[in-house]
C-alpha cells in the first residue's frame, strides 16, 4: 500500500519536473510553486485560457507595485 503511494508520489514529482522544464522552454514565467497551484486549479476545472488571463493580470498588478516600490525608494 505504502509502496503504491510512493510510486504515485514519484510519478507526480516526475510529471511536475517535466511540466516545469516545458514551462521554462516556453518562457511562461511560472516557477515551480506557481505551476503547482495552476495544475491544481486546472484539476479543479478552471478554464486554462481564463487562468492565463488571471496570471497576466496579476503580473501587471505586481509590476505596477514594483514600480511604485522603486519610486518610493528613490524619493
Amino acid at each position: 500500500m505504502a509502496s503504491a503511494a510512493n510510486t504515485n508520489m514519484n510519478a507526480v514529482r516526475e510529471t511536475m519536473d517535466v511540466l516545469l522544464e516545458i514551462s521554462r522552454l516556453l518562457n511562461t514565467g511560472l516557477d515551480m510553486e506557481s505551476l503547482s497551484i495552476c495544475v491544481r486549479l486546472c484539476e479543479q476545472g478552471i478554464n486554462p485560457e481564463a487562468l492565463s488571463s488571471v496570471i497576466k493580470e496579476l503580473r501587471r498588478a505586481s509590476d505596477s507595485l514594483k514600480v511604485s516600490e522603486n519610486s518610493t525608494s528613490q524619493g
Binding site: 510519478a11 516545458i22 518562457n27 491544481r40 486554462p48 492565463s52 496570471i55 525608494s73
Partner: protein
C-alpha cells in the same frame, strides 16, 4: 488548500513575492489593501473571460485553432522553434512531451490537456533568460 478560492489566493500571494513592504509602507501602501485589490483583479479577469466565452463567436480560423488539442499546439510551437533556428529547444520540447505522456498516466493527473493549454497560452509571456558567456 485545494479549494478554488484558496488556490487563487495562493496565486495572488505568490505574485507578491519579492515585494518590499517595508519600503512600500513608507509610501502609504498597505499589504492587506493590496492583497484585496489583487484578488479583485484576479476574479475580474477570471469572470470577464467566462462571460466573453459565452458571447464571443470566433471566426473559422480562430475556431479551428481553439479546437486544436493542446498537444498539437505544442508541436506547432516546436515547429516554429525549428523554423526560427532553435533546433535544440524544439527537440527537447518533443522529448519532454513524449516523456510527459508516459509519466502523467501513472501520476493520476486528469487535466493534462488543460495544463498544456495553459502553458501554450502563457508561452513567450516573459522574455527569455539572458544568456551568460
Amino acid at each position: 488548500s485545494n479549494s478554488i478560492t484558496e488556490l487563487l489566493g495562493a496565486l495572488c500571494d505568490r505574485s507578491l513575492s519579492g515585494v518590499s513592504w517595508k519600503r512600500l509602507s513608507l509610501g502609504g501602501a498597505s499589504r492587506e489593501a493590496f492583497r484585496r485589490t489583487l484578488r479583485k483583479r484576479a476574479y475580474g479577469a477570471l469572470l470577464s473571460k467566462l462571460f466573453q466565452d459565452s458571447s464571443f463567436k470566433p471566426n473559422s480560423t480562430a475556431n479551428a485553432l481553439a479546437n486544436t488539442p493542446a498537444h498539437n499546439k505544442m508541436l506547432m510551437i516546436s515547429f516554429d522553434l525549428r523554423v526560427s533556428g532553435c533546433t535544440e529547444a524544439a527537440e527537447r520540447l518533443e522529448v519532454l512531451l513524449a516523456q510527459l505522456h508516459e509519466v502523467a498516466l501513472s501520476s493520476g493527473l486528469a487535466e493534462l490537456d488543460s495544463v498544456l493549454e495553459l502553458l501554450v497560452q502563457l508561452a513567450g509571456s516573459v522574455p527569455p533568460p539572458a544568456v551568460s558567456f
